[in-house]
């Protein structure tokens, strides 16, 4: 790890329209990933971890916030500008220069939308970020052979030389622990673990720098999970990959990740190095999550205290006071300024 930042997400918002309401799937999430690092993202289902991943890889157009990859802005939304414009329209104390004020806001909003569109045209997809999906059966087309599936990305990006394609496919098949003669078979002929290997092969054939693994092992048997995790770890070392590892199984995440971010109801509520997060969890939800991990140890398990976390209700005004704040070097928690001081004091005592 050389500390160079490869992916940066700032204030990412992904809202979905549901009738008149907005569903805030991802609400103001920021993080950055260093080169060669494995960042784990955990949280319950519906907390927005998969949506975050899909926005980063441009499967959605973000509602707000910005994403940088390798120092380049790859996608941007216009939510903040839009809100500023709405506010300008309804603001009571806008004074004499009201018209200018509004038109300025409108201009800003328009610019932001333009930028968002341009970026979408400029980078319709980012081949250097690849994704591995959760369910290997659902994500492989049953009517395509393994070779067609793996080579599809190459073909889309203009590779026409059949020999090069074949050589590359065989090469990645070997890398993920499959045989070249598997290339002409169909997905149903493979077991769950092998299918996930095919998913990985499809991702790495594009020579990506970042891999987003969205619950790559949750659909697999325990004995196979370890194989896939070890394979991902090995590929990271060989190819210098950076991995965004999304999962709900905390013991796997702890084992595999350098840093972990915990998401809850669309927010990033806590983020720290894995060791730090597990030894000093601060946010109530993280504590509840850690206390719920099943341990393969009856003695410890029977003496364990489970912590329950009730989601507190806040008004939108109160909600605004919350932000991700650094409590301890490298350890961020979503809290208010008031809480921050107390939490810091407590953390230092430990």
């Amino acid at each position: 790890m050389n500390g160079e930042e490869i992916l940066r997400v700032e204030g990412l918002r992904q809202y979905f329209r549901n009738g008149r309401n907005w569903i805030k799937a991802v609400d103001d999430v920021s993080f950055s990933v260093k080169k060669g690092e494995i960042l784990g993202i955990v949280g319950e289902s519906g907390c927005g971890k998969t949506t975050t991943a899909r926005s980063v890889i441009k499967l959605y157009r973000p509602t707000g916030g910005k994403v940088w990859f390798n120092g380049e802005l790859i996608s941007a939304g216009a939510w903040d500008e839009r809100m500023a414009f709405e506010k300008a329209k309804t603001d009571k104390n806008r004074g004499e220069r009201a018209k200018e004020y509004i038109s300025e806001a409108r201009e800003n909003y328009r610019k932001a939308v333009d930028l968002s569109r341009q970026l979408n045209k400029k980078y319709p997809s980012v081949t250097e970020i690849q994704m591995i999906f959760q369910d290997p059966m659902a994500s492989l087309n049953p009517r395509m052979t393994i070779k067609e599936i793996i080579a599809e990305g190459l073909r889309i990006h203009g590779e026409k030389n059949e020999e090069i394609i074949t050589a590359k496919v065989y090469d990645v098949l070997k890398k993920v622990g499959l045989q070249p003669d598997h290339a002409n078979r169909y997905p149903h002929e493979f077991s769950g673990g092998q299918r996930q290997r095919i998913g990985i092969a499809r991702a790495i054939i594009m020579q990506p720098k970042v891999i987003i693994a969205d619950e790559p092992v949750s659909a697999l048997d325990v004995s196979i999970q370890a194989q896939v995790i070890n394979l991902l770890g090995q590929l990271r070392d060989e190819m210098g990959l950076t991995i965004l590892f999304i999962a709900h199984d905390l013991s796997v995440v702890k084992y595999f990740s350098d840093r972990i971010g915990v998401m809850y109801f669309g927010h990033m509520v806590e983020m720290a190095e894995s060791e730090e997060l597990f030894s000093h969890p601060i946010h109530g939800y993280t504590k509840a999550l850690l206390s719920a991990i099943p341990l393969p140890d009856p003695y410890a398990e029977k003496r364990r205290k489970r912590i329950f976390y009730q989601r507190p209700e806040y008004t939108p005004e109160e909600e605004e006071k919350f932000a991700l704040r650094e409590i301890y070097p490298g350890h961020f928690v979503r809290c208010t300024e008031l809480e921050e001081i107390n939490l810091r004091r407590e953390r230092e005592k430990d």
């Binding site: 769950g192 004995s223 370890a226 199984d249 013991s251 084992y255 099943p294």
Partner: protein, 358 residues
């Protein structure tokens, strides 16, 4: 726990007819269930654990062939019952909780209707009484507003709530035995912990015997009194939960335990190479031999019998034969056992220390 057997499965063998031939799903499985205990059956997909549990409920698919064995419950062999006779047992004596709570609830019927359906069908009670009982059941499984839930559809509930409803339905006829087939696999960790807690509570309250089927060793630790580990249609090891976790004897159990990362594991995970055997052609010797790094030549030739280690602990591996080479289980397993002994010692010392000071 009284040591009374309430269910006795012996030499159960089940195969499935397919176009390619017979798939040997369950091969010569025997176990007993004691009154008030939780027996966990652990194994990966395709190991035959679900087929075993379904045969207890008489829910095998039409292409299943029971090749032998008996399931004795209250003096009757469940396998020999006709479908109309089975009604007396299914649901009433043996209840079942399925894996995916969404697919086993009817989406176009209200929860209340699904709960009272069997009561109204099997017992002579009025609708009002049935509703009262249903509400009580819903409250009993920890649903905060039973009245409201009664009139809702399954899609209006969250995953955890749905699973609670399924448990309520399974309990509606007061069964003696509850079979839970991977009840938490589709749920989040925090919800999973709540559901496991609920099952433990209900078991205590109603003095149920539970058969708990899962592939996750971690889930089992808090639940099981005894554990049976299944692989390729056979029980390869069974014993009390302490014996399985702290002194496992079968290489497959070792591998299972070693492949789950503990919270303080750092070394490379010990994965099990290869995949489970194709049960169309079950291997001649020990089914796990091909993936087993400790396998000896005999493992490929002949199936090992169940060796007795202690009166409660059995394992089917040739490694236990007096003439077999001595091998050590993987470090992670030994480490866990060592930690357990230490903490137990510490607790005992604390206890005796506390008594002395008094």
């Amino acid at each position: 726990m009284e040591n009374k057997k309430i269910l006795e499965v012996s030499n159960l063998t089940i195969s499935f007819k397919t176009n390619d031939g017979l798939v040997h799903a369950v091969r010569d499985v025997s176990f007993d269930l004691m009154k008030g205990e939780t027996l966990a059956i652990v194994g990966e997909s395709g190991s035959g654990k679900s087929v075993t549990s379904r045969s207890l409920m008489g829910l095998l698919t039409p292409n299943a062939v029971v090749e032998g064995g008996t399931i004795m419950y209250e003096g009757t062999d469940l396998l020999k019952l006709r479908e109309d006779q089975f009604h007396k047992y299914r649901g009433n004596k043996i209840g079942m909780v399925f894996q995916d709570p969404l697919s086993c609830l009817n989406p176009i019927l209200k929860i209340g209707k699904q709960l009272t359906e069997s009561m109204l069908l099997n017992e002579k009670i009025s609708k009002a009484d049935a509703k009262a009982r249903a509400l009580k059941l819903l409250a009993g499984v920890g649903i905060p507003d039973p009245e409201r839930c009664y009139g809702q559809y399954s899609f209006e509930l969250s995953g955890g709530m749905r699973q609670r409803v399924v448990i309520a339905i399974a309990l509606s006829a007061n069964p003696e035995i509850l079979i839970c087939d991977e009840p938490t696999t589709a749920l989040d960790v925090t919800i999973q912990a709540q559901i496991l807690e609920l099952i433990n509570e209900i078991k205590r309250e109603r003095d149920l015997s539970v058969i708990f089927i899962t592939h996750d060793m971690g889930v089992v630790a808090n639940m099981a009194d005894r554990i049976a580990v299944m692989y390729a249609g056979k029980i390869v090891e069974y014993g009390t939960s302490e014996e399985i976790f702290y002194s496992p004897a079968h290489p497959y159990t070792w591998a299972l335990l070693a492949s789950i990362p503990d919270l303080d594991t750092h070394e490379k995970l010990e994965s099990i190479p290869g995949t489970p055997p194709n049960m169309l052609f079950p291997p001649k010797g020990d089914a796990f031999a091909a993936r087993n790094k400790y396998a000896i030549a005999l493992d490929f030739e002949e199936q090992p019998p169940l060796f007795e280690i202690t009166p409660t602990h059995y394992a089917a591996t040739w490694l236990l034969h007096p003439k077999a080479p001595k091998v050590q289980p993987p470090d992670i397993v030994l480490e866990r056992a060592r930690r357990w002994q230490e903490s137990e010692k510490a607790e005992n010392a604390e206890k005796s220390g506390g008594e002395e000071s008094r």
